[in-house]
């Protein structure tokens, strides 16, 4: 009888702990070597966009931060997370502003609603070059309703505007809700991880992917850094 109660309380405590003791993985993404210099983009073809930028916009394929930080890297749990199946109800938004894609890298869950809006005075054309998912290519004149779509299968999709060749972005369609995109000095943070073994993947559109295994036990913050080798050209 007593033993039973004891066992019960222990179980309850264990469950509680596993709930409150949620771990975190955080770290920096950096690069070694000299990355290619960001090139300025000449938008003179599209005056309505050009005049929105005091200083010329530069290419966003490789964006670096202070002390070798690398931005726009998608860091996510590629296996081990228990709650992957649930699709977030709120939509993610992909904005076309000043003939740029904001954000440059947009992460979404499979089947999560994707909203594409055009804030510019010019007609844009959204062409996600999907291979696994269905490829489509739609134009969006100014003042038209947002394009709404979703992707069934996980994939990294690069996005082009067929009217403005320089416009280039990335969709990262994942099967997890634990992800972050490195920003600032290349920092990222994956909170709320229940104890367990995880594989963490970092993906960069030009430098490829890296993975690392992390084990979370209880309430702790594990540091996990990634370092990519920069290409000079």
């Amino acid at each position: 009888m007593r033993a039973k109660q004891l066992l019960l309380t222990v179980l309850v405590l264990l469950v509680c702990s596993s709930l409150m003791f949620a771990g975190t993985v955080s770290g920096r993404v950096t690069y070694t070597g000299t990355p290619v210099k960001a090139k300025p983009i000449d938008m003179s073809k599209e005056p309505s966009c050009a005049k929105q930028h005091a200083t010329p916009v530069t290419t966003e394929t490789v964006v670096t931060g202070p002390n070798n930080g690398l931005e726009n890297v998608v860091v996510y749990i590629s296996s081990g997370a228990p709650d992957d199946s649930q699709v977030p109800s709120q939509a993610v938004t992909f904005e076309q502003k000043g003939c740029q894609y904001i954000p440059h890298v947009l992460v979404m869950h499979t089947n999560q609603e994707l909203k594409i809006v055009n804030d510019d005075q010019t007609s844009h054309n959204i062409h996600p070059l999907a291979k696994v998912n269905r490829e489509w290519n739609k134009s969006q004149p100014p003042g038209t309703p947002p394009i709404v779509d979703k992707y069934e299968k996980p994939e990294f999709i690069s996005v082009k505007c067929n009217v403005h060749p320089w416009m280039h972005g990335e969709f990262a369609v994942l099967t997890t809700n634990h992800y972050d995109v490195s920003k600032g000095g290349g920092d990222f943070k994956l909170p709320n991880l229940p104890p367990g073994k995880y594989t963490i993947t970092a993906w960069h559109e030009d430098y490829g992917t890296q993975t690392a295994d992390v084990t979370i036990t209880g309430n702790e913050t594990k540091e996990q850094n990634f370092t990519f080798k920069a290409k000079a050209y």
Binding site: S44, N125, H168
Partner: protein, 266 residues
């Protein structure tokens, strides 16, 4: 009803002619060395075409006015001279007219297309792609790097598919989205299409030439007036055709040199 037709026809003919006589929507001023001949040819043709147009409409109107619903006792008459006279007139007048136009036209055409560019002409490569023009200057070494289509990546702005990693000539190539040229210096434009057919049209320069995929066309001209002009695409190339344009900046030689330096700096 017939008289109404005649009047309408005359009115239409005159009204159509007015905007042309008043140059309401005329082509912009010519800024090229070869354009004068083309304009001359244009105005001569306009004179001849205009006269034929007005004459034909007026005569038609006059005959309809005069010979419709005549009285019952009216006899039909034959035009003096009959068909023979008309045919001979057409052969002589129109024949000579158009032949003259054709022969004068040859000179204007030859100026643009049948003369080679001078040796010291400034070489610039223009690449047309869906849906923008990009321009490439050889840089200090005066040599263009080779093109590697498989390397083209618009995301990283490697528009021409250059390979600076292995190709030294490509490293100093200057790629721009606007065409800057020095005034009064001949430019030798090497035209290359990245994907489909496009065309290079500058009204002020009196220049229009298609880009032919798989075939590199070249064009040479001399701009005589400093200023900023529009380059537009005139060959249907896809959904963004209407928006495919670039600016032509004609600069004084020193300005051009500075501009080139500044571009090289980036």
């Amino acid at each position: 009803m017939a008289k109404l037709f005649a009047i309408t026809l005359v009115v239409i003919a005159i009204v159509s002619a007015i905007p042309i006589l008043r140059h309401t929507w005329a082509a912009p001023e010519d800024i090229s060395t070869h354009g004068a001949l083309i304009d001359e040819q244009m105005s001569e043709t306009m004179a001849e075409a205009g006269i034929s147009f007005l004459a034909a409409q007026f005569i038609l109107a006059f005959f309809v006015w005069k010979f419709s619903n005549p009285g019952p006792d009216a006899k039909i008459k034959r035009f003096p001279g009959g068909a023979k006279g008309l045919v001979i007139a057409a052969l002589l007048v129109v024949g000579i007219e158009v032949m003259a136009l054709g022969i004068f036209g040859v000179k204007a055409w030859a100026n643009v297309y049948l003369t080679p560019p001078s040796a010291d002409a400034l070489p610039i490569q223009v690449q047309a792609g869906q849906f923008a023009f990009y321009f490439r200057y050889p840089g200090p070494d005066g040599k263009f790097g080779g093109l590697h289509p498989e390397l083209i990546n618009e995301g990283t702005q490697n528009i021409f598919g250059l390979d600076p990693e292995h190709d030294v000539a490509a490293r100093d190539d200057i790629v721009t989205a606007e065409l800057a040229i020095p005034v009064n210096k001949e430019v030798h434009l090497l035209m290359h299409s990245k994907d489909v057919g496009h065309s290079f049209f500058v009204r002020e320069l009196r220049v229009q030439q298609d880009f032919v995929p798989g075939l590199d066309v070249s064009l040479h001209f001399t701009a005589t007036k400093v200023g900023k002009y529009e380059i537009v695409c005139t060959q249907l190339c896809g959904l963004g055709h209407y928006n495919m344009k670039a600016y032509l900046e004609v600069m004084s030689q020193p300005d051009f040199d500075n501009w080139l330096k500044q571009q090289a700096g980036q």
